[in-house]
Symmetry: D2
Subunit: 416 residues, 4 copies
């Protein structure tokens, strides 16, 4: 098995690779190739990983490359974890919209929009190369906004793509902890879009324990989150708070250090640690980097697609009728039964009316964002932001869009 | 023909009745019965109308009543123009949401929501009486929020109901003026919800003159409205500005005298004029009362339903597939071909994506509002406001809802 | 205005041209170009038409051509009335399926299927030429099976195409006669597919007189047709009898002279008459040629598309939501409001359940037939026939298909 | 756990009960109550079963009753296996339609229609009693036509109902044998209606082995069945042959002994055997009774609904969006993931076009049949048969319907 990691120079890569320590012996020979455009960083991470692998006694052949075609050659799985413009660009997502009183965040709202516009052209290019070099490989997308990127991939390319998020696996763990069982025993009746999803029911070993576990989870969340839970009768994705607890979250975001800056600092610290040739295991500090359980989610997915395990995983896939009120060809985040070639969606049916409008308008925003990026359309970009529930106003959307265009400079397609 | 006017004591009634001066001779004998719960006001309006009718030489038998059953007896058409709580209650709609920086207005947003909650139970009661007393009568609803009230009627009662708004007829006149033709020569490719609608194309004598007439109409509108037109490529309902020009409109509404207060003053002036027994024609001052061309729209509709004329009229009716992306049984505002028993919807198809989310989320808000009122559900009321693009935030929605409940007192159903 | 008639050498053309005698003065200068691959026949018809035009005093410039590109140049309307393989091939449609006890007929069932397979490639070629030479022309298709041909045109080409059938205009006349009014006063609530349609309601001057007129029309039809009417509560297209009165119709078809042979005889007679240089008006015998009121339907349509008149006409167009239970992009036969650039479908909504299966399975047959022809697919051809309610059996379908392939020889695409 | 078996006096019951020998120790205490209207037969079966249970050493408390209410009391599962009118009535299903050259069979076509009309009123009555006596029990329906009966139950009652057929489990076994694995390792991508279903893909331990296993299964089937497989690229339910191999199957049915008569004979033989008080295990002869693996399917289902096992089972459930081209509230036969309270449909999406018409028209037939039975409507009964692909003709449908009404006498609702 060959796994290619696009953006492999990330300080997060050790977390990802560690996940393979559990399965290398079942899929051997296993080769992992790290690709990055930043050679210096890539080298540091690569050298450190060699030491980690050696210490773990894992038979993993590790390669590194700065050439996309070489890195993709013979790949069975491509993991996409690039960040276009790096955390410097992310800082724009977190600050520009805030000037207008609107959430700044790398995936939701205007920040996520900017991130999408920077990222879509680059990922599209990578996918075109995959079509050419390794057309039967699975592309697992981690790059945010993951739902939008996956929808672009499935609408505009032939690459077999899945969007992955760590929220579902963390929810599963949360409810497993509350029920005092292992995560495997928990099944979530879960639906929505990436970062706009709900848990409708929680099953433990097949038993519907929603009522009891929602009562328990109420104790772990803020008053505001409890209000959401109590009124929609579903457990909301944390990101839902950016919508339904808008004022509180904007305040919070305004007064907290920017995540981009934090991450820049953490990354710099981590790279220094990685350089230490005596270090041969994941340093404690890496947990501050975020992305809890991403490695677990990725390895679960690769295991299922390789036939090592079977069961439902919550991933971003084409709707194709799973949610009746959303377009047939758009991307949704739902449970899918996976086992090697099996890929069986779970029927959600009609959206619960209490949240139907929110999901339909964000889906409209997402489709318009993709079209804006692929067609370089200013009008579609403006209408995308206008359709977003966090903005709604076209005059406000225009101010933010013009500012994003000016600050994102060449990262953006030239919108006309 | 018998026409019953529910809320007939309105100072606006002379405008409505005047419309019948054009058709009485084609439908005679014509009886019009005015119903109102305010006897004093009803008497003043009634006496004045008798003089108007006499002067006009119209053979119209005018009655007044404060008894619903009596007023409905043998009616062919029932016109509903009540305002539950009067303009005093409307003042709440215009002021309470504004405290929270949100539009206050009798039909759109939180103001319209409060109006709906006050009005639905009363109109439902009237409709149940119509089912009993005059089941084959048409109910023409003017009462705002007209789309919501009509959807409630069509979902919860058997009354043949049509929702009417004066926006479409004014648009038709606007484009007729621009094209220098008579309104009959203009056909609008128009769709949406009441007060959330767009003109997609304008045809003059069958010719598609959209491009030219949109260029002309651009000169008549504000810079902000022009921005909407240019970006959605459709001519927006004035009320769209409450969404897409949110900040500007909120500022405007904040600093303008409240419409409810204006109307209270106008009504008082008008009633004084009406009392003057020498007055026997519509006073100039009535035009300040608003509702331009409502009388024309109503008489057109009654003419068509009576078989006096035929053609497309833009009204609020059940969707039944006209707009693919909205529920089959919800109410939409679209062109319908009318001639006596004919009632033929015009196919809109899929919503233009640039405005799809806005329309879908407002439709979600509307359905939840009706359910909240009919089921007295606090949760649904809260989710209705949360789904509304002008609010979006649940914490904000809660503040506004609690304030509306407290200020609207017994006008509201008891939400639990 | 230029009208190009593809298949202009038909003996039927005089009927068509006569229709223009009513409107030439409103659209002048009017040029009509007849195209045919049979020069001899074309010349006879052409010469005769020149005399007819002269006698009528119509200012119509008549041309003839055997070159498609020349004939299409500058055309505003293209009328397609070709018959691929002529009546000799039609004879196969009428005889081959009958060998297997199945209806033989040029439009319905296996006969219509064979006709479609012969015709689709040729009409596709013509349409590609129209795209090139006169892309803004309207293509009015008379060629059977008209619904299938029109769906192919709208799915695979960019030509503005409308399918026309004379059934709706004859129904309108029938009910007008029964109601003793002029056809313009009758509106039919009509829906379905070409040759598989129903009249749900009949309106006379806007009044719903369905009940009374269905009682009257009952007297004019056979016992069997009355059975259909009484059980579906809708007036069926004559062709519905091929489905619902299958045995009777097959018997009838078996024992009647074949229509193809009749038409061959009529055509020969007509051409002899046309050759008579003293003949300058439509001979009586032409009425035996069939196609009553086709000329009226065509001229009505051209008049509406030119802006000379307005109103509903029943034509074959893309569904786009008009009938909820059929694919969005398939072709249906429904009322459309036409006036120059206006083209406004009428909403049918969900199909009446009593006939839903019949219409859905014939639509499936139609789509498969088009795909079979365009993709030269034997499997799709076989499944098309298997899906047809007149066949249903795959073993039966295979026998018929193999026989049709063998007898139609090079007229068929090579199915693999 | 209490299981009530309605129609428990069937000679088939020993087969069913034997299934519980595998699970009684996991669900104990287990009580099984047999209900039947034929006391004599019930007693024979009951006594024999007591001996079987004893020999097996199973701790199962067995009861018998002729009182519905008593039998249902405290039931957790109700198994419905009644046959209204017994095999005498079934004989009508197998012979009456054949007089008209149309398949006679207890579930498909006109025979299944008659069976539905006899059965629906009786099962409706049972369900109403379940609503009253044991509202939280699951009703597992074996009674044919199982899809129609289940749809009636889910549309007209509140009983939690599942329709079960032994075809899916036999398919699973068939492909497991071909792949030389155990049935648990096979997953079928399966969809359709009861007795009108297809296997789209076969997965073995998650691997898509459709191609190879279809090649293998081709060797096991008749030439005609192979033709279906090859042309639809899906493995068809045996009953599909009644449609696609119509002529062959009608001939076969004509010349074979009637199944009803065979079963009458087998039943008589079996009852004689059961009477032998020395018999305490399932006699060999029972296998001739048919219904292979029904017991396995039932026990699997009960095990899953009780939480003893989990996984996909193919059952008849409400569509709710699983198949896009069929009504939302109709019943379909698809894989559902079951584990105690979990009940998660698998998304089928749009129907493959090659069989779309067949499935849509049979679904129309099914819905009309249910409405005909519940509303006692002759017109709907006639249109149901007319919509069925095996009949299609209304004149033919009328002959068959009138004959069925006359021969089924009081078993039918009085159609008006």
């Amino acid at each position: 098995m060959k796994v290619s990691v696009i953006g492999g120079g990330s300080t997060y890569t050790p977390e990802l690779i560690e996940g393979f320590f559990d399965i290398w012996d079942k899929v051997k020979p296993l080769k992992i190739t790290l690709l990055d455009i930043n050679y210096e960083r890539l080298s540091i991470v690569y050298d450190f990983l060699l030491r980690m692998i050696k210490r773990a006694g894992a038979e993993i052949e590790l390669e590194m490359s700065t050439d996309l075609e070489e890195a993709l050659k013979d790949a069975d799985f491509v993991i996409n974890q690039i960040r276009v413009g790096g955390n410097q660009a992310r800082l724009l997502d977190e600050t520009v919209p805030l000037k207008y009183g609107v959430l700044g965040q790398e995936t939701t709202g205007a920040g996520g929009f900017a991130n999408a516009l920077r990222t879509i052209p680059v990922v599209y290019g990578i996918a075109k190369k995959i079509e050419e070099v390794c057309p039967s490989a699975w592309l697992i997308n981690f790059t945010n906004p993951s739902g939008i990127i996956t929808e672009m991939l499935l609408k505009y390319t032939k690459v077999k793509s899945i969007g992955l998020c760590n929220v579902p696996i963390n929810f599963q763990k949360l409810f497993a902890d509350l029920a005092e069982v292992s995560p495997e025993d928990v099944f979530l009746d879960y639906f929505g879009l990436n970062h706009l999803s709900f848990v409708r029911k929680v099953f433990v070993k097949g038993e519907d324990r929603t009522k009891e576990l929602f009562l328990k989870v109420r104790e772990r969340i803020s008053d505001e989150e409890r209000m959401i839970l109590d009124n929609v009768n579903m457990f909301p994705n944390y990101y839902l708070g950016y919508f339904y607890l808008r004022e509180e979250r904007v305040e919070e975001v305004k007064h907290k250090p920017k995540r981009a800056e934090e991450v820049l600092k953490i990354e710099s610290d981590l790279l220094n640690l990685y350089k230490d040739s005596s270090l041969d295991k994941k340093p404690e500090e890496l947990s501050r980097r975020g992305g809890a359980l991403y490695s677990r989610a990725a390895v679960n997915l690769i295991s299922a697609l390789s036939g090592l395990k079977e069961g439902f995983q919550i991933i971003n896939v084409k709707n194709e009728g799973a949610i009746s009120d959303l377009p047939y060809d758009s991307v949704v985040e739902i449970p899918v039964y996976l086992q090697k070639d099996r890929f069986h969606r779970y029927v959600i049916g009609k959206l619960p009316i209490s949240v139907r409008g929110t999901i339909q308008s964000v889906k409209t925003y997402e489709e318009l964002t993709i079209e804006a990026a692929m067609e370089s359309s200013y009008k579609k970009a403006l209408m995308a932001l206008t359709q977003h529930p966090l903005i709604s106003s076209m005059t406000l959307a225009k101010k933010i869009l013009d500012d994003l265009i000016s600050t994102n400079k060449d990262y953006f397609p030239k919108l006309i």
